[in-house]
């Protein structure tokens, strides 16, 4: 049986099918399923959440408006820096709770061994027994401080994994819930980096969340799907 093409099915999302198309759809479960999938994807697109505006967005707009005389002098209340950061900071703190818990749980939900948490462990290869390597003296340089952060993070994950094993998988986190949480962290830290692009702590969280998200996506792909769907996007044809 030759099926209705995807493009024709896409048309049928808006237009009534012809008699022949109706007859085909009545007898072809595959085409009906594709049509439903197209509709579901459109609904999902409509439900995509808004992206956070850059943290520096208002200051740029305000500056331009003042330059054009569209804002009366003295008519904007000064706001403390902390009020701009409180909400995203709280969001990061809340999401980090799930992120850190899930980092340990990710070890239990095995994909490629050793793949997850790679970014956190990359600082010094301190994947195991790192407690003995933790530095107790104040770091004398930025490099030493970075190594100490990496060592502490690796030690924390090890301890968390041991705890999870002993507690019988009590830290199990649904990988898709974790993926959603990681997305939230990436968006929030990206907005925070707009304000403080050089902040090492925010950069660290952002990179760690990105790394975890990518590793988790790879695991989900391997565990739940067949071969990855690789296609080549063609150049868009000109309008005419």
């Amino acid at each position: 049986m030759q099926h209705i093409t995807l493009e024709t099915l896409a048309r049928l999302m808006d237009e009534a099918p012809s008699a022949a198309e109706t007859a085909h759809l009545a007898g072809c479960g595959g085409c009906r399923a594709e049509l439903e999938a197209l509709r579901a994807e459109r609904e999902a697109l409509r439900e995509l959440p808004d992206l956070p505006a850059p943290a520096s967005g208002w200051s740029g707009v305000e500056q331009r408006l003042r330059a054009e005389g569209l804002i009366r002098p003295g008519s904007v209340r000064a706001r403390s820096d902390s009020s701009r950061w409180l909400r995203p900071a709280l969001q990061v703190a809340a999401a980090l709770a799930l992120f850190v818990a899930g980092a340990g749980a990710n070890e239990l939900w095995r994909g490629a061994p050793g793949e997850t948490g790679g970014a956190l462990r990359a600082g010094g290869g301190a994947g195991s027994g790192s407690g003995a390597r933790m530095v107790s003296n104040t770091p004398a340089s930025l490099e030493e401080a970075a190594r100490e952060v990496a060592d502490h993070e690796a030690a924390y994950l090890e301890a968390l994994t041991r705890y999870a094993e002993l507690s019988g998988g009590g830290l199990q986190v649904d990988p898709l819930d974790r993926l959603a949480a990681l997305e939230g962290i990436v968006l929030t830290t990206r907005a925070a980096l707009d304000r403080s692009p050089a902040d090492p702590v925010i950069n660290g969280y952002h990179l760690a969340a990105l790394s975890q998200r990518e590793a988790l996506l790879r695991q989900v792909t391997r565990r739940q799907a067949g071969p990855a769907n690789v296609g080549t996007a063609e150049s868009d044809d000109p309008w005419f």
Partner: protein, 183 residues
């Protein structure tokens, strides 16, 4: 304070009223511009310009439509104008390859996959898909905004939907290559 009160004050140069309007609509404006622009830096610039244009044009806002709708239209036009300016200056870039992780059709993963697939759509297709299926513009409105016939918008929309579906499908023989069903 109601939005109408904010608009009235904003017209008089009240910076606080303008800021509050900004905070109410900033995410929506940025979202549509970002998805049309496909680039963070461009999106930030264009969003800023859209806001300035809107505040500049505030005396002309008559309240026949919702403020958000009116503002949104300015934002969309700014993004589309921005894309046209870029196309005139530089050759159109080829879109990235379609490597979208397949997986169970669950919401969080689907959202990630949708954003990625959207970013990978050829630009014209992305524009019509966003403007029609997400923002609800008609083919006639899109034709006016994009400078093409409504029928062209329609056919591009169907191609865009099919392309998205293709990118999001798990590995199965593509349906695009099959012959048109002889009906």
């Amino acid at each position: 304070m109601t939005e109408n009160e904010l608009i009235l004050r904003a017209r008089q140069g009240d910076g606080e009223a303008i800021r509050r309007l900004y905070e109410r609509h900033a995410s929506q404006v940025y979202t549509i511009i970002r998805r049309l622009a496909g680039d963070d830096a461009l999106a930030e610039d264009w969003a800023q310009e859209a806001w300035v244009q809107a505040i500049r044009a505030l005396p002309e806002f008559r309240g026949e439509a919702q403020f958000g709708t009116w503002l949104y239209r300015i934002a969309v036009n700014r993004a589309l104008q921005g894309r046209r300016e870029r196309e005139r200056r530089a050759p159109r870039e080829l879109p990235l390859p379609d490597i979208v992780p397949a997986g169970r059709d669950d919401r969080p993963l689907l959202r990630v996959r949708l954003e990625r697939a959207l970013a990978r759509l050829p630009e014209r297709m992305r524009q019509v898909l966003l403007l029609h299926d997400v923002e609800g513009y008609t083919h006639e409105e899109m034709g006016e905004m994009l400078g093409v016939a409504p029928g062209t918008c329609k056919s591009q929309l169907f191609k865009a939907r099919a392309k998205m579906r293709q990118m999001l499908q798990s590995a199965q023989p593509t349906r695009e290559g099959e012959q048109v069903c002889s009906i």
